[in-house]
Amino acid sequence: MATVEELKLRVRELENELIKCKQKQCAMEDALHRPKIDKMSAEVVDSNPYSRLMALKRMGIVDDYEKIRTFTVAVVGVGGVGSVTAEMLTRCGIGKLLLFDYDKVELANMNRLFFQPHQAGLSKVEAAEHTLRNINPDVSFETHNYNITTMENFTHFMDRISHGGLEEGMPVDLVLSCVDNFEARMAINTACNELGQIWMESGVSENAVSGHIQLIIPGETACFACAPPLVVAANIDEKTLKREGVCAASLPTTMGVVAGILVQNVLKYLLKFGTVSYYLGYNAMQDFFPTMAMKANPQCNDHHCRRQQEEYKKKEAERPKVEVVVEEEEVVHEDNEWGIELVSEVTDAELQAATGIVPDLPEGITVAYTIPAEDTAHGETVEETEQSLEELMAQMRKIVQRSQVVEGLSAVWVIGTEHTLTHLQRAGQKNLGCTGESKEIDTRSY
């Protein structure tokens, strides 16, 4: 067998070889890179990557396509939807992209678009930046490989949203939520309500056959906390939906469709063409696309949402009513005003107590659950205590798994160093940590 020294030497050799390979590869890639383009041209030649986009202007769809280069978009979550979203924006020639994700590329992601098997193990933001820069070197990138929901990162996230624009110090133009969990959506919602930052939400259901996008203008349209999570009904019988053994399914098609309608809405919003959707659902089972708009909820839990609503009201009152567009929007809102309506035929008092109000929603869109107006949590609350936090922490640490003598019980074992433990077991009870009978228990630690 080789000695440690020999092995160290071999590692060094291999490291050097790797560096050489990387350099060679970089040189090859550099040769393929196109130079940056200063000004978007409408000239139709095969070397102009923007000619077909600039044609939108010639055709009168978009007034000023070049304006896309002045915008900054933050994409939070670079997974199945976020990566495709970032790619579309890159190809469209967006000015700057900020990418946030804490995850790594995994082979299990290969049923989705964008990432490639050789990128497995790299951070998603790093891998994405590399690919996107190759596609379009005119775009500026800023990547952050962290989870935005933790204290430290959240502060930094807020700071980058408010200062990470193309011109450093300016806020981004739009935040796109492409995350896959409730906590992260709520964190984005919290940040955007505090900052008054306009953002778009997107999501694909865990059964992979429905999705949605939503434009959130703090104070004006419903925020993510204004109502319980909305779901696009896919008309699947819940009873036939088997959840055992799986968390979530995913389809590249559904994610691609959602990314497509998300970026379409982004382009329409930024470049001011067509009608921007407030909420657009996608039911893949029936190919049904419900739409709606929902006003912010005056009783929203988020106090920054309520503050933004006050500010919006003030602004609206001051604004001279001349714009026709605004009135049209208001009609949409009125149709979808918050209805204080109880779910169908509730007569039983208990059921009524457990069911909250549902907003008035169009066909095909529903809420994941309702929150009762009344507090349902009954029972004892924690008592006032004289103990300090430190004392409580110490008390918690001191609860060791002490050895106890209990009827029908047997073993004592030692885990780690000082903890002497007893496993207590009640015969026949099939409960957590308790199965089987009171026989000799294997006391060795796992």
Partner: protein
């Protein structure tokens, strides 16, 4: 929802009073005290009911929690490390509990070993926020998850008792 035993255990956990997350500098220490009070009570109750199954402690500012949980299956004890961060949106949203050493072993898990809770958990938490705390998360989230997943993982041979593993290696 949860089974009778879980229901009973949860009903004995005191509810919390302070609606404050880690960004609320003034009230978070109070919330943290209540979290510890509820956790201490829950663990003591579990011990009294011969069903002691987890320990948890936090860093000084209460934003990161680590601990162990254990599960007895066919008289063998299986112990796992657990960890989670308190999200800035807590207690409106529950933390995502992770059991890192089981990462990649079950489909009932998201990346990083975060356990995948049943569809009942989110509505339950939302309806009871901010009165539910970490003790409730343990009782309604991690507890039922372990009860379903661990026997299954052992049955599939994906979780092997440490001593047995060593014995097998020695053979």
């Amino acid at each position: 929802m949860a089974d009778e035993a879980t229901r009973r255990a949860v009903s004995q956990i005191p509810l919390l009073k302070t609606h404050a997350g880690p960004r609320d500098r003034a009230l978070w220490p109070q919330r943290l005290k209540e979290e510890y009070q509820a956790l201490i009570r829950f663990v003591e109750q579990n011990k009294a009911a011969d069903n002691d199954w987890f320990r948890l402690e936090s860093n000084a500012d209460g934003t990161r929690w680590t601990g162990t949980c254990w599960f007895i299956h066919e008289l063998l004890r299986y112990e796992f490390r657990l960890e989670f961060d308190i999200p800035v949106t807590y207690p409106d949203t529950a933390p995502e509990v992770a059991v890192p050493e089981l990462d990649g072993k079950t489909a009932k898990m998201y990346r990083g070993g975060k356990i995948c809770l049943t569809e009942h958990f989110a509505p339950l938490w939302a309806r009871n926020a901010p009165r539910f705390g970490l003790a409730h998360l343990m009782a309604l989230g991690l507890g039922p998850w372990l009860a379903v997943e661990i026997p299954d993982l052992i049955g599939k041979g994906l979780v092997i008792h440490k001593e047995r593993q060593r014995d097998a290696a020695a053979e």
